[in-house]
Symmetry: C2
Subunit: 229 residues, 2 copies
DNA sequence: TCTGACGTGTACGAACCAGTACGTTCTCAG
DNA sequence: CTGAGAACGTACTGGTTCGTACACGTCAGA
């Protein structure tokens, strides 16, 4: 979730780590900020940018509405902070799978299947992505922090594909960005279109058996696509 | 788009088809209804359910706000009517491709590639689907008209898969609903996640060359997945 | 030509909601 | 221990927006 430990904002050097075991007392700007972001993430994910209410967010916070405007200036400023936080969280994941040490075929399947599991387990994160797309990606576009560092996803994939091609187990003409899109598309659909698809075709996406079936299918699809011949 | 010819609402039998060439004169309930739906479709697709403004819709209509409430009772009623109309339109398409007369492999590839083209050409329809999912599919759930008749998509696919399996060119264990999901996922992602993905990975989804590349790739993915062995 | 229902326009109300004015308390450097 | 700025709370405002009251036009059949 949202980090609770002190951020990088100005602090006197001497108290860095000093009063660590103190109770989360009266004034704690970083905790207040984090608390607001945490609540706002939930509210925006549930109700959308327009649908979310600042008063509602404030009430669920352990502080007041005044603080939201104090720290984030506007509803949109808060939304943007939430979005940056979410992307940071999504980004962080893939790096820690240790895929570079696995043989390419095992690495790719693991990447795909863990993506399905992850997306399924954090629906609210991807609802925010969907919401941002409804808003024409305006805030992602306006945030350099989101645009930077996002090569990582394709870099990991590029590495796997390169090794696979060299070993002769993958085709050589796979575009890493396109493949990343394919994996995201197949995995995200289960979250983004859960309600309409589920209602119309009677698929229960929350059923673990269905998830396992989909996870395997999506893995198979990707592996068959990259296979040579 | 929205049908302009008279609907099925009560009409005296004698004027059915009588004054056909008259100018779209003073009183024309069906045209008014259709006009409202048409404008509302655009507005809801562009701004979402909460984002759209009834006054704005009314102004762009050739009638007044009063009529929106007269015909649709509430903003939500209007939204629901729009949604039903959109699903009707989406449904109508696939039937007219004549796929049952093609050999299974050609039929499947044609289905996939035409889906990509169609989704790409009607982004606003699928923005509405995305919006509906943000709203937890509440209105789709409440509309029997949407839930009925939606077997068609899987029926066409089932038929192709059955014929392919019999001919020995497809595997026998493909779940039609799951395959439909795969095709939808790959095709819809290009519309639903256009902005965030495009910004982060520098993909221009409106470039025809990119669309052609994706269309072929998605076709290849599906064909490789259903192939036996 | 009269009548009742249907269709239409205008002007307004009431709630809702983002954002702010203003005042208070805390914290830490000097 | 003191002053100045940071952190915080309360109460309000002004604009927006869904929905409606009310009045009038129009049409088909009696």
């Amino acid at each position: 979730m949202v980090s609770t430990k002190a951020g990088t904002r100005r602090r006197s050097p001497k108290d860095a780590g000093a009063n660590a075991s103190q109770r989360a007392t009266r004034r704690d700007p970083d905790a207040t900020r984090a608390n607001i972001i945490e609540v706002a993430t939930r509210e925006f994910a549930e109700n959308g940018l327009d649908g979310a209410r600042v008063d509602e967010i404030a009430e669920k916070t352990r502080t007041s509405k005044r603080m939201i405007y104090y720290y984030f200036e506007s509803k949109e400023g808060l939304y943007k902070a939430v979005l940056e936080n979410v992307y940071r969280e999504i980004r962080t994941r893939e790096a820690d799978l240790g895929l570079e040490r696995l043989p390419p075929e095992r690495a790719l399947r693991k990447l795909v299947e863990s993506t399905v599991e992850y997306d399924d387990s954090r629906p609210h994160l991807f609802r925010l992505v969907a919401i941002e797309n409804i808003n024409y990606g305006r805030h992602v576009q306006g945030s350099s922090s989101i645009q930077t560092n996002n090569a990582s996803a394709t870099e990991i994939l590029s590495d796997i594909l390169r090794r696979g091609a060299e070993a002769g187990v993958f085709r050589k003409d796979i575009n890493p960005t396109d493949l990343h899109m394919v994996i995201s598309a197949l995995s995200l659909f289960r979250v983004s279109n859960r309600y309409t698809f589920g209602t119309i075709f009677g698929t229960d996406f929350s059923d673990p058996a269905v998830r396992r079936r989909h996870r395997k299918m999506i893995g198979d699809i990707v592996m068959r696509y990259v296979a040579p011949q």
